[in-house]
Amino acid sequence: MADLRILVTADDFDLGAEAARLEAGADTGAVVTFTGRVRDVDGGLRHMEIEHYPGMTEVALTRIAEEAAARWSLAAVTIVHRHGRLAPGARIMMVGTASRHREAAFEAASFLMDYLKSRAPFWKKEVTAEGAEWVAAKDSDEDALDRWT
């Protein structure tokens, strides 16, 4: 069974340390990580606020990780997601997968991201000089799930 690590935190995380943890098994040949970060496209972003649903968040992320581990041969899965106030450039979240082979590690990481985007209870709000606005969900994110069903 894959080693699952789920972390929901206000704090920043250390990608190098998370990757080192993923690499730990003797049979792990491939580690893929995805890191999401607060973009500041127009230069006007003061900060981002991420709200979540404590309790359900951990349950939802664990379920998504378990689903990935059931579909691909994985030694380890990591999901870290921050909440609270994040400055432009800050890391928001990461997923990581460890496997024998690159295909499984890549596909599982992509799967985790697609499900996390639309099925984990996080909501982003962007605060600019003009005010605050909740980020709208994209149809393309919902559509991305189709390729896994």
Binding site: Y53, G55, A60, K117, S118, R119, A120, F122, W123, W134
Partner: protein, 83 residues
């Protein structure tokens, strides 16, 4: 029965609170929404576009017509935007 009802993101902001205890005889989540909307304008406004509302029963995503059954917690929120 007594239910914990939770609101997130702009639903929380429009209703003006994040959590409340509700006494209800509603059979489904949709019935509960109808009861809440009848209460006050802020609820009516928050739930005016149900296509933009998602719900969870005891922390599990479910359709709006799901029976409340013996659930203890119902949550309402917009489509998720994590990642």
């Amino acid at each position: 029965m007594k239910l914990q009802v939770l609101y997130f993101a702009w639903l929380r902001e429009r209703i003006g609170l994040g959590r409340e205890e509700v006494e209800t005889q509603a059979a489904t989540i949709a019935d509960l929404v109808a009861e809440l909307r009848a209460r006050e304008d802020r609820y009516d406004l928050a739930f005016s576009d149900m296509a933009a509302v998602r719900c969870a029963l005891d922390q599990e995503l479910v359709p709006i017509d799901t029976p409340l059954g013996t659930a203890r917690e119902v949550a309402f929120f917009p489509p998720m935007t994590g990642g």
